[in-house]
């Protein structure tokens, strides 16, 4: 008994000590969070990102990649000369993360809405996006109106929910944690349609065409614009970012990144 106990304690001590040192996630986020203490003129900016939002921000092995990540690197590291730290966050807590200073900015397919404008300081829009309807190939749903009374799924806390409410269609709606779960609902037949960002839909349907034999309807729900957000009151930082972003767009870097991810220059031209 004593032998087992001492062995277990020894193993526990080793693990606990390695916890203090190695775990790259926790130590990186500790460093990142302590750097979030002051505002505009510091050298490291922490970007709060939902790393389950392909193709804007998602994980490839250990690295966070995506269109927004590449654009953020170009703007913040190349143009502004500051260090960029990506902090994965729970998207439902994004307002709290920004407000309490745990992250400096949100840049992850964040749609500009009037409601959000009241709580955060937004940049000018940099990309246009639509909320589209995805159905199985050969489904008899051809337009918004056909959705009446059907089973529809979408990601919770996303603007798909807002767009749906504005559209005023009556259907059985379920809100799920992420978009892949929504696509799976169509595969299993539990849902007839899913609403999500066109950007995300195009990415998944292209990537896993055999797994998702779905079509995107031409009829879309809402046109929206993506922007970058910082904490309300941090206007000075936003001005710096906006200036760097404008330069990145005008010198063609943004167009190159967009073409890399989406096949063409999808930057918002205003």
């Amino acid at each position: 008994m004593k032998k087992i106990l001492s062995l277990v304690l020894a193993a526990a001590t080793v693990m606990a000590l390695s916890a203090c040192g190695s775990s790259s996630n926790s130590s990186a986020s500790t460093a990142a969070s302590s750097a979030a203490a002051s505002t505009a003129s510091k050298d490291t900016l922490i970007l709060g990102c939902d790393v389950n939002f392909a193709p804007m921000g998602f994980k490839d092995g250990d690295n966070v990649v995506g269109f927004d990540i590449d654009l953020a690197k170009a703007v913040i590291e190349d143009k502004m000369g500051k260090k960029l730290v990506i902090q994965p966050i729970d998207w439902s807590s994004k307002e709290a993360e920004l407000d309490t200073g745990k992250v400096d900015l949100l840049w992850n397919g964040l749609t500009i809405t009037d409601e959000r404008k009241e709580k955060m300081c937004f940049s000018k829009p940099y990309m246009e996006n639509k909320q589209v309807i995805i159905v199985k190939k050969g489904s008899d749903i051809k337009s918004k109106a056909d959705l009446n009374g059907k089973n529809v799924v979408m990601q919770k806390e996303s603007t798909a929910v807002d767009a749906w409410k504005d559209a005023g269609i009556t259907a059985n709606v379920t809100e799920l944690k992420d978009n892949v779960l929504c696509l799976n609902e169509i595969s299993t037949g539990r849902a007839d349609a899913a609403i999500m960002d066109s950007v995300v839909a195009n990415y998944y349907l292209a990537k896993q065409a055999d797994q998702y034999p779905f079509v995107i309807l031409d009829d879309s729900l809402a046109n929206e614009l993506y922007g970058i957000a910082v904490k309300k009151g941090n206007e000075a930082l936003m001005e710096e970012i906006q200036k760097a972003l404008d330069e990145t767009i005008s010198d063609g870097t943004a167009a190159k990144i967009a073409t890399n991810w989406f096949g063409s220059d999808t930057m918002y031209k205003g």
Binding site: M15, N25, S26, T30, A54, S93
Partner: protein, 216 residues
Amino acid sequence: MDFSVMFQQLCKGSLVTMQLFIIVLPLSLILGILVMLGARCSIKPIRWFFEFYIYILRGTPLLLQMLILFYGLYYIPGIGPHLVITSRSFACTLAFTLNYAAYFAEIFRGGLLAVDPGQYEASKVLGLSKSQMYLHVVFPQMFRVALPSTANETITLVKDTSLIFALGIEELLQNATNIVNSQATFVPYIFAAIFYLVLTTIPSVIFKKLEKKFDF
């Protein structure tokens, strides 16, 4: 789908999960014993404080406690911004320890109630000192009764670590979700389930062995 990358990510996640588990378990067990003793204290205010502690921490979801600890303290008028916990891991460890201590306190109290009053009387008759009585007679019996429930809570702790995604920490389940989302496949979730089974088997086996040892 790249299986080696997936395994690597799931192993990394398991490491984070186990690290939290290894730190929280002993801390919450010890705090649990202290809270239980506090709730039996003869000094009324101390007893009320600990009973209130148990009430609050068992009565609200762990997820909510984590969110309040990490984001909520900031909003307290006046002292809020100075109370901020900067480390996400520390906030998680603290929330888990406080929460599980409340449950362990009640489990140990149950174990203590199960010790026959005759044991106390017999110890007195035999001339054992208070500390001898507690250490050699009462606690071993309390521990034996509390073992199955403690095993339950310990296994639950391994799985509850999946809640730390809410504070942006990447552990086993979240790493599986990342791959599910970047590759648009459900398979990582199946493997995550297997990983969790392996992780929970370790405490299960240890507690079974402990139960045999305490079968006096």
